[in-house]
Amino acid sequence: MNSFWAVTTATLVKDIRLEWRSKDALNSMLFFSLLVVVIFVFSFDPLAEESRHIVGGLVWIAFLFAAVVALNQTWARELRNQVLDAYRVSPAPANGLFLAKTLGNFIFVCVLEALMAPLFVIFYNLHVLGPAWQLVPIALLGTWALVVNGTFFAAMSLRTRNREIMLPLLLFPVSIPAVIGMVAGTTAILTGENSAHFYIVLLLTYDVVFTTASLALFKTILHAE
């Protein structure tokens, strides 16, 4: 157990250091979601009243697409020079790698959300009518939901042709309940019309179920050859 956390931290620190040096994922993710926001602003020019009903959807679509950009980058790094093989021949636990990657992506996407959320507020003149603090658990749980499955599916699509196209094709169908939870929960809070509790519980359940499933199956996926 001790070595599990040691491996997880070492891998996480290594990933953050690599990202810090290249800034590949973060830069492309940031610019990408900025583009999405701007395109949305041109496409929908709603009144403040209407925007409350649609922004929940727009925000999460932007983050979903941006997350895919980051997720495709995570394993690409391990494929260059086939470093992944070095991990696979070592006795280090497979789940340590998975957890580190998931945490890394979680941090990157959270940073992105923290930077992009104010833009939505500015462009759409947002004014939250419900309990705003509940947006935090929704964002955290929702991001984890995207990232945990995304990291797993990105590892799955590693060995497929058209790797980068494969990821959204696999990730989006399974993520539908999480997306419903995030969008409906955010809309509920923005409009203040109904409670977001159900969606928080839904996201929590989703996270628990798929984190468990990913941890249970990742070793098999990593060593499938």
Binding site: T160, N162, L170, P173, I176, L202, T205
Partner: protein, 301 residues
């Protein structure tokens, strides 16, 4: 083998013709919807068949994954037996019975629960080794076809009856659509994955997809549902002739699905056998020879 197949095919054709006759001629016209309702004799049996096939795909995928390790296989076997035992006992507890929707009999639930271990061990016994993976693939492919029929016939019926093609908030519509999307992505993965690891990866995706289904269901649960209540076990009243026709249709569809699965499975088996034979004979030298001859052909030009 071939003879049996032909006999079964003939019987299935007759069965389907009889079901069509029942659906169009014998079953009474619905008092409210008129003749348009008759599409349910295709819609509902297709849906049940599709769900059954997806269920088989799930069981086969779990078993395929479990087989990668002996200890895992044991654990999963006991888990499945546990599901059967606990499920049967639970349905006879009054607390659990109170949770069941009205009209759903506990004995029906118990039989459904028992189907899980029954299927698991039956399939495990009948499909050794890589055949399990072929079964999963076959079930998913045929399941997607039937699910497509469901998604096409649904709106055709909905347009005249509901006045809309599609109800976005409806729980059964949306979850069937998501199910369809998941299994299409499963088939896409199988197409695009290089062959050495496809089977395990696909099995993992199937497990994820199956875990997703209840979550999809609950996530849409909040919306009011427009779909008619389930025709069986939902406590709705139905003309016995209609129910009879529906069940006959389902039997015919099941026979048809079985037949399609069988031939698809045979095809896959032959394909893999051929692939294996080819693999053992083909030489990489042929590839390098072609590469080596490239400059020559250029100079010839």
């Amino acid at each position: 083998m071939k003879k049996l197949f032909l006999i079964l095919a003939g019987l299935t054709a007759l069965f389907l013709a009889y079901a069509t006759y029942l659906a169009l001629k014998v079953a009474p016209t619905d008092a409210l919807q008129g003749d348009v309702y008759r599409i349910i004799y295709y819609h509902v049996p297709s849906a049940w068949t599709a769900f059954l096939l997806f269920f088989i795909n799930f069981i086969a995928s779990v078993q395929y994954l479990a087989r990668t390790k002996a200890s895992l296989q044991k654990a999963v076997q006991w888990f499945v037996i546990g599901i059967g035992v606990v499920g049967v006992i639970a349905t006879f507890l009054p607390q659990v019975q109170a949770l069941l929707p009205t009209g759903m009999r506990p004995s029906a639930v118990a039989t459904t629960v028992l189907a899980i271990p029954a299927f698991y061990f039956l399939l495990g016994w009948k499909f050794p080794g890589d055949r399990m993976d072929m079964l999963a693939l076959t079930a998913a492919e045929v399941g997607v076809v039937f699910c497509t029929i469901v998604l096409v016939t649904g709106p055709i019926w909905a347009r005249p009856v509901w006045g809309i093609w599609w109800a976005p908030g409806d729980i059964r519509l949306t979850s069937t659509l998501v199910l369809w999307l998941i299994y299409v992505s499963y088939l896409v993965l199988r197409r695009f994955s290089s062959s050495a690891q496809t089977q395990i990866i696909a099995a993992a995706l199937a497990v994820f997809g199956a875990l997703d289904v209840p979550l999809v269901y609950f996530s849409i649960w909040f919306f009011r549902t427009q779909h008619p209540q389930p025709v069986i076990g939902g406590g709705g009243s139905m003309d016995p002739r209609m129910l009879h026709t529906l069940l006959i249709s389902w039997m015919a569809f099941l026979c048809f699905a079985f037949l399609v699965c069988w031939s698809r499975f045979r095809l896959e088996l032959l394909k893999r056998e051929a692939e294996q034979a080819e693999a053992m004979e083909s030489l990489v030298g042929a590839g390098t020879a072609a590469k080596a001859s490239l400059p020559l052909s250029r100079s010839a030009r």
